[in-house]
Symmetry: C2
Subunit: 170 residues, 2 copies
Amino acid sequence: MSYSIGEVSRKLGVTIDTIRYYDKAGLLPFIQRNASGRRAFTENDIHLMRTIVCLKNAGVSVADISKFIAYRLEGDSTLTKRYRLLEDHRQALQQQIADLEDTMTYLKFKEWYYKTAVDAGTESIHFVPGTNEVVPDLAQEYSDHLTAENQLAEREHFANVKDYRNRGTH
Amino acid sequence: MSYSIGEVSRKLGVTIDTIRYYDKAGLLPFIQRNASGRRAFTENDIHLMRTIVCLKNAGVSVADISKFIAYRLEGDSTLTKRYRLLEDHRQALQQQIADLEDTMTYLKFKEWYYKTAVDAGTESIHFVPGTNEVVPDLAQEYSDHLTAENQLAEREHFANVKDYRNRGTH
DNA sequence: ATATATCCTGGAGTCGACTCCAGGACAAGC
DNA sequence: GCTTGTCCTGGAGTCGACTCCAGGATATAT
């Protein structure tokens, strides 16, 4: 028993056009055709495609999934290559999330900077007296303003904020 | 004192064309021009642009950064909006990384499945006797094969693998 | 004063990942 | 046997985020 492209589309929640696009792109070299030239998907094909959708959702490019599929066809000798490909993507994503967390930390710092400035009625409270330069260790002060209770949780945030110190504030 | 687009490009590691593209896209509404119509970047502009690059690196789209900048111009009343925009992106990324980790767990499971099959000389060791169906609780067996030492660390992985059980193996 | 570097705009080109369409071939229900 | 539904291919269109011109003005160095 086999499935039509429409059935697979509904099963996987992927449009027919996208399935055909993936086929053109070499992601589905295993799919057979029936007597009249229509794609006939086996249960097994669908499982494989679930893996592909999985990789796609995880942000892997079609080109890289294509590589992955090609390795698959080569058999167990490429298990390490396949694993490494996934590893690389995991690390890229973790770098991305780290960047975003840095960004949020920076934002928090800036919000504190403004809140205190507004409270004081002037931004100059953050300047080296007599200049327009922000004090060098402002991030340290930011850390100090956190309660002792928060300090534990925020200690790593502070480490990030330090990296942003030379980016200035505004 | 102000900087030219070329200087900013070198300072931020972003091409001149990209800076102009960002300007066209409304990301840099604050930049002034000099007498001859050239962009004149202040130190402050550069700081702001560092934030923009930061958001970009974190995977935020130009359209969303544009929103962010527009909120900025509205002042402190939009601090919450801005924070929430970042929050949303952080969560999307975390979902993505979770997907990828699920995918890797699935892959590990598949590798175990094949290794044991190869060791046994036949895939049928994983089938319900007399059928071509994979045994229902294979993921449980996978969990059991892990050493007691590993089991603690792998327990959450197993939780993920269970979700993949009905995707079959191949 | 001239050569070279840098800047400007408007618009075209590229790339990845789809998405849509025309024109034609089965397939299934009545 | 006709209508309606689903499928096929090849190719064009779209969208986001750049990237690359062409043609012209301004700045800097010698």
